[in-house]
Symmetry: C2
């Protein structure tokens, strides 16, 4: 098996062979191996349910690949609802001719990434399409989590609540853009693609009041904050110099005339907490490997309802516009 062939997606013997020899080898668990039309599980919890199709290009990038991203991305969406990631479905659309070696590398990264949250793939699907009908590989993961912390919502934010980022902004978007445009930033740019559940779990265990929480993926920090301002019907004031941005990300942004706030992140979370819990939240984050660069970046205010305001160190203010137009496609 050197390349993926159409027959691997036909539903016949070759598909069975691919499932058993590759997917079961890496994803093995008792529910998956039953191989019925659907996986069966029991729960007595309220559940979170989310889906994402990953079409990132290139499929291998610094700091990860489409497989790692497909696990971390969906696990993070579940985590952002205060839910412990439990089960995933996984569906591959593969372009005929993909080297088997590439697929195995992707699948093996997925298995690796799942260990970080304890999530399991329990049902799957594989389609192979003729050359030119897809670009290499697309992966859909759909996830189910058991809600352990209730009430997180974009509608919850009130005047005085503090906005914190778990780390630097724009890393994933900058990395993909640089690699696609073949801009050499001395190899420093790397995706932040990472499973965030352990950090979320730490915040929940320490009884932090989580008002709103999001991972700023497509549309970046700007998309999250603008959605919060609109849905909570509040203003959000951000101290521009407090937003952590890596030098190499800033450099790329200056080179291309971009703002880091609209670039995608794949291993960061933005959280809104009551003012009195802000320092404790920050300290939990800074003591966790996933939050070592955490920063308080702003607060909810009663002015500027529905808007996000960027304050410069010199006191000037401008609106952080919601992202619009042709953002970089195939970022995730």
């Amino acid at each position: 098996m050197k390349q993926i062939l159409l027959s691997h997606g036909g539903g016949g013997e070759e598909t069975q062979k691919l499932i058993k020899e590759l997917f079961f080898k890496h994803f093995s668990n008792p529910i998956l191996e039953k191989m019925e039309d659907a996986a069966v599980f029991e729960t007595n919890s309220k559940l979170a349910f989310t889906t994402d199709s990953f079409t990132v290009s290139p499929i291998f990038f610094k700091g990860g690949n489409i497989g790692k991203l497909a696990i971390a991305g969906t696990v993070n969406d579940i985590s952002m609802m205060g839910a412990r990631p439990k089960y995933l479905s996984c569906s591959f659309i593969i372009e005929e001719g993909l080297p088997f070696e590439d697929l195995e590398r992707i699948v093996s990264s997925m298995a690796q990434e799942m260990k970080k949250s304890g999530v399991h793939i329990i049902t799957g699907d594989t389609k192979v399409v003729p050359k030119g009908s897809a670009d290499r590989i697309f992966i859909n993961t759909t996830g189910i989590g058991e809600i352990v912390y209730e009430g997180i919502s974009a509608h919850n934010i009130q005047e005085g609540d503090i906005i914190i980022t778990s780390g630097t902004i724009g890393d994933h978007g900058a990395c993909i853009m640089a690699q696609r445009e073949e801009i050499d930033m001395e190899g420093e740019l790397q995706s932040d693609c990472e499973t965030l559940w352990p950090l979320v779990e730490a915040l929940i265990k320490e009884n932090i009041t989580i008002k709103a929480m999001r991972d700023p993926t497509r549309g970046g920090l700007s998309a999250v904050l603008n959605e919060w301002a609109e849905q909570s019907n509040i203003g959000i004031e951000i101290e521009e110099e407090n937003i952590p941005v890596k030098d190499e990300v800033q450099g790329l942004c200056e080179l291309l005339g971009l703002e880091p706030y609209t670039l995608a992140n794949e291993g960061k979370l933005i959280i809104a907490v009551p003012q009195e819990e802000a320092e404790k939240t920050l300290s939990i984050m800074k003591n966790h490997p996933l939050g070592k660069d955490a920063q308080i970046i702003g607060k909810a205010v009663s002015d500027y309802t529905g808007k996000v305001i960027l304050k410069s160190p010199y006191g000037s203010k401008r609106i952080m516009e919601p992202p619009a137009g042709e953002l970089l496609p195939r970022i995730c």
Copy 2:
């Protein structure tokens, strides 16, 4: 909005507009409209969980389109586990330039098809990829059902159990093949694409003992029966003349040198029941619009362990081989 643009998948304002003006218009329900990172629902049932990515080409075909298929296909997989379809996720990968009108036609079919089982889309994702990176549109649906009948399994079949098909075999595969090859069968060929839950519910309500049940999609009847024979470690003997095949499907098969048993179906189920319940099962099916062409096609036997045997009306026997090789790609 005449065509789908890259910006519709960027996660910014245009994506929000597409979600609100198209998806919410057709898929509207309270959970979906919360627009959080994940949908939240409660259940105290055992759940069935299944995923499928649909890549069918052409995307519009006689008897359906990729949207109708994406709902019916996943709802059917849930139903085959004895589960009532409850929730779906839906993820679109759209090639830039798809006419908005086509997308709306697809989305509207999906909404229509969901009414047949009462399932709801409660979470979704939209990616738009540049021209040439995908072929028009791919749809992933992942479904959750509440199990109302337990114990259906490919491992359950015993000697004497009767095998019944809910209707004619090969319609979907033949339709797609004819349309793709531009073979004109006088317009008679039509996909059987259909939501099967109402028929399954009727069988459960009438207390039929369902030993095994599958919808014979990719790999057709042959894939299902061979899997059952292998997993239940039993022989399956099929009376060839009792397999219902439409004249136009038979005609296409003869023209192309195919067997209808390996062609995909998208609105049929194969069921194994105890001998004493076979006539009752058949009668329930024949009285239901989804099973009017139902037929008893064979039985489980102690000979030929792990094999499927086709008996001709003249008494001769041959093996029904499991499907292998390059089956028609992009059939579903």
